[in-house]
């Protein structure tokens, strides 16, 4: 879809050239080892652009005959450019070898605005993880890839962008997950299943920071994560991937809990076939893990398919679907004093769980189907229609009695993007979401959301101005509609001091059916429903700057401020816990990232720092206090060194000690400091990666009494045909 959308966008920005003779530029983009670079942006400046495919090839057309200034940009590579004479009615070849270097931010295409546009034109803070970066990290799931992005932190599976979500047992993510632009937050809990997309099927992952509700509606309160799946290339292709590894034992023998080394392993197989009109791809994969603590084993199987139909040059029909089943044991809270056998006189044993819960496990089946039609009837208009169905079905098998929930999220959207003049772009659309849940703990309920949105962008001189608004109408169980209006204005201004961006907008998150209707015992408490729970909202603003200081140094800085009201939070009411709209909160801070390729182009380094002031504001009856589960300081250091087909790298992440947590507030807690080491070797069509996460076996916790992963060593071998 990406290249088709890119083509559509290229048509939108192409200079009217009906009277001109046109030509074509073809070629291949490779790195210095000769490996193809996928997803690189190849641009005939002022005329057209496209992205390279999996094999590094590109075909850029139509390009006006004559002298064309070409440039190619890709993450982790230096910008390359040249002038090429394009013959009329013919093609010319341009093959490029990119050298490693500073991450080149301008020029890349992202879809944060529900349409493909260059990154330098986007008014929000956007991080992009390319498939090259994902492969270099040698991770096995999408969340592992996202977890090291500056300003992003996972707390026991719950994603935080600039401290958005904290930790609420996975309920009600304040981040919206999109797969190829289709919302995929669960219908019942509004949480996120990060394994919906096999990591190898992700071409890139865009992380948009800050409220995005003016286009995306509910859940886009703290940000949006959009997983863009790969294009299907023409011809027959395949990819085989295996990985295996083991978990370190506890660093102290007092914590030893088993007499064997925990292992994990798995693999996936992808096959694809494509012609110029019909394309399809199928991925089958699975994995097993013994886990790194007691009762932590899991098994996972997945089938994912994609299909494309291109009936004519301006129409693109795409189908995607996946089905996965995940069975995992449930390591609840670790053992406190005298809670478990074999405590050895310890105050706590983070590798053991209460034997009262032994045998508890969960089966989670989930999958989705989407169908999207994109058509570009003329060079100024693109319209899109899509339908989607997401199903989640979990069963908690537990001694106290099983719990289950079956939830369906049906979605539909229509959108038109028009360019009435070269300096104007208008996006309008409507969206429908129907959530249904059947559960013994959530009850049987429905939740409908209807929305209309519009956004206009206009270029005035150098200044790019954007204004938009979205109206969402929400109804639970067929009751009366409640409306939420989410406006946003933004501006982008290129200057000699870099590209400045500023935006102010409103975000919201509808209360999930899980939060409103849950009824379940959590000894010694009972969680009780709150049908009057309503949406939480927030105003958020940001001023940022992106600058290329030298050819080997770039910076990205943002100051952000969010003021939230009616934050949904679990509150203790007598002997019960109930989700209530109670908090007014402030999340303010600074994001600074610096990417450099000092000394030699073979070395790429980055430093990212997020300062976060997350505060629950005082009310008449309660004093202010820090928001729980937010670090004040988050630092990410990375370095990669590549020589020919070999590479080594390291990531270091520091997250300061949470100033406040909920539950077990007096437990010991420390800052999180993890060092990941990696090495890679590519020969021919084989790619071998070695990854050691938490290499120093640092023991820490983010969620209460829940141990974060210990040192893990994994080897991944990939063969691409």
């Amino acid at each position: 879809m990406t290249s088709r959308l890119a083509l559509a966008a290229a048509l939108l920005i192409t200079t009217p050239a009906a009277a001109q003779q046109m030509g074509t530029i073809v070629g291949t983009v490779r790195d210095t080892s000769g490996a193809p670079v996928a997803g690189a942006k190849v641009e005939a400046v002022g005329a057209a652009f496209t992205l390279t495919g999996q094999d590094g090839r590109f075909r850029l057309q139509p390009v006006p005959a004559g002298l064309a200034h070409l440039r190619v940009a890709a993450f982790a590579f230096r910008l390359d450019s040249t002038d090429v004479t394009v013959p009329p009615g013919d093609s010319v070849s341009w093959n490029v070898t990119l050298k490693g270097g500073v991450f080149y931010l301008p020029g890349l295409v992202v879809t944060a605005g529900k349409r493909p546009e260059s990154l330098e034109n986007v008014a929000a803070s956007v991080d992009v993880l390319s498939d090259t970066a994902i492969a270099r990290r040698a991770v096995n799931t999408v969340d592992e890839a996202v977890n090291r992005v500056p300003g992003v932190q996972f707390i026991n599976g719950q994603v935080n962008i600039r401290g958005s979500s904290g930790f609420e047992q996975g309920l009600g993510a304040r981040v919206l997950l999109l797969v190829d632009g289709v919302p995929m937050n669960e219908a019942d809990r509004a949480g996120i299943d990060w394994d919906l997309v096999p990591v190898d099927d992700a071409e890139r992952i865009e992380i948009v920071k800050g409220a995005g509700s003016s286009l995306y509606g509910s859940a886009a309160l703290g940000g949006v994560v959009n997983i863009i799946t790969r294009d299907i290339p023409e011809g027959i292709h395949g990819r085989v991937r295996f990985f295996g590894g083991g978990f370190a034992n506890p660093p102290d023998s007092l914590w030893k809990f088993r007499n064997f080394t925990g292992m994990q392993g798995g693999g996936s197989l992808t096959g694809s076939f494509g012609t110029d009109q019909v394309r399809g791809a199928l991925t089958v994969g699975g994995r097993h893990s013994d886990g790194y603590r007691q009762q932590d084993a899991s098994d996972y199987l997945q089938v994912a398919g994609r299909g494309e139909w291109l009936p004519d040059p301006v129409t693109h029909v795409r189908f995607t679907g996946t089905w996965a089943t995940h069975q995992y044991q449930v390591p609840l809270a670790w053992c406190g004093p005298n809670q478990c056998a074999n405590m050895r006189g310890l105050a706590y044993q983070p590798f053991l769980v209460d034997t009262a819960d032994s045998g508890n496990h969960t089966r989670s089946d989930h999958g989705y189907l989407t169908a999207t039609v994109t058509r570009t009837p003329d060079e100024n208009t693109t319209w899109m229609g899509r339908a989607s169905w997401l199903r989640t079905h979990f069963t908690d098998f537990q001694k106290a009695g099983d719990d289950f929930a079956v939830a369906d999220r049906f979605g539909a959207e229509g959108r038109i993007v028009t360019t009435p003049s070269p300096d104007q772009t208008v996006t309008v659309g409507g969206e429908l979401t129907d959530n249904q849940v059947t559960s013994d703990i959530f009850g049987n309920h429905t939740q409908e959301q209807f929305a209309a949105y519009g956004e206009a962008e206009r270029v005035v001189g150098k200044l790019r101005l954007t204004a938009g608004v979205r109206a969402d109408f929400l109804a639970d169980d067929g009751a009366g509609l409640s409306a939420v209006i989410s406006p946003r204005v933004a501006a982008v201004l290129p200057s000699t001091l870099g590209i400045w961006r500023a935006s102010v907008g409103r975000g919201f998150r509808a209360a999930s059916m899980g939060e409103k209707f849950v009824t379940t015992p959590v000894p010694p408490f009972e969680v009780v429903p709150n049908p009057s729970l309503h949406a939480e909202t927030a105003w958020t603003g940001e001023i940022g700057n992106t600058a290329v200081i030298t050819p080997w140094l770039s910076t990205n800085t943002a100051i952000f401020y969010t003021r939230a009201t009616d934050y949904i939070s679990p509150e203790l009411v007598g002997d019960s816990i109930q989700f209530q709209n109670v908090q007014r909160a402030r999340l303010a801070g600074v994001d600074v990232s610096l990417v450099a390729s000092p000394f030699t182009p073979r070395l790429t380094t980055s430093v990212a720092y997020t300062y976060l002031d997350a505060w629950e504001l005082a009310t008449d009856s309660t004093p202010g206090r820090p928001l729980a589960f937010r670090p004040r300081h988050l630092v990410t250091l990375s370095a990669d060194y590549a020589v020919g087909p070999a590479s080594v790298g390291a990531d270091f992440r520091y997250s300061s000690r949470f100033e406040r947590v909920e539950l077990y507030e007096t437990d010991s807690r420390v800052a999180a400091k993890t060092l990941d080491l990696r090495a890679g070797w590519r020969f021919g069509q084989f790619d071998v990666r070695l990854l050691a996460t938490n290499a120093l076996n640092y023991i820490y916790t983010l969620a209460p009494r829940t141990l974060e992963p210990v040192a893990t060593v994994t080897m991944t071998v990939t063969y691409v045909y």
Partner: protein, 167 residues
Amino acid sequence: MRRFRLLVLTLVLGCNDGLQPTTICDPHLVGICGHITFRGAVPDSTDVMYLVAYGSFPQTENDLFNFLPFPPQTLQIPLGGDSVVPYGLALPNNQYHWVLAVWKKVGVLNPSDTASADALLREAGYYRDPADTTKPGVVTVHSAGTGGVDFVVDFNNMHSVSYFFPP
């Protein structure tokens, strides 16, 4: 390269302060508690092990009998292999400068005969000063259990009385 080594050293040192095992004592205990790590094969001639503490480090052979508690508390020896066992030792309020495990060989001990003690008793391991592990650590008991008094018993490295008081 020197800077790189410094960076690696900084990271390693900075990352070794994660959560650590924390011992808790029985809430009714006035004394010390912790873990003893056993290393090496238990000698076939083993009779018993004792756990004792000294208010000050013995200066003479006669001081060796000024231990607490009296009679000494026996320590259960694990049956096989390297292992870690928790312990608790009741002691009166005081400061203790030597907390150790004493191994006794099979045989009849004559308390008034230091030659008998030298033949049958061995220091098998003692609590060490965390700041200088070549020295015994000091433990204070103050009306409650003092936790974290952990040390190693190494059956391959035991010392007789004459080791401390050469003839």
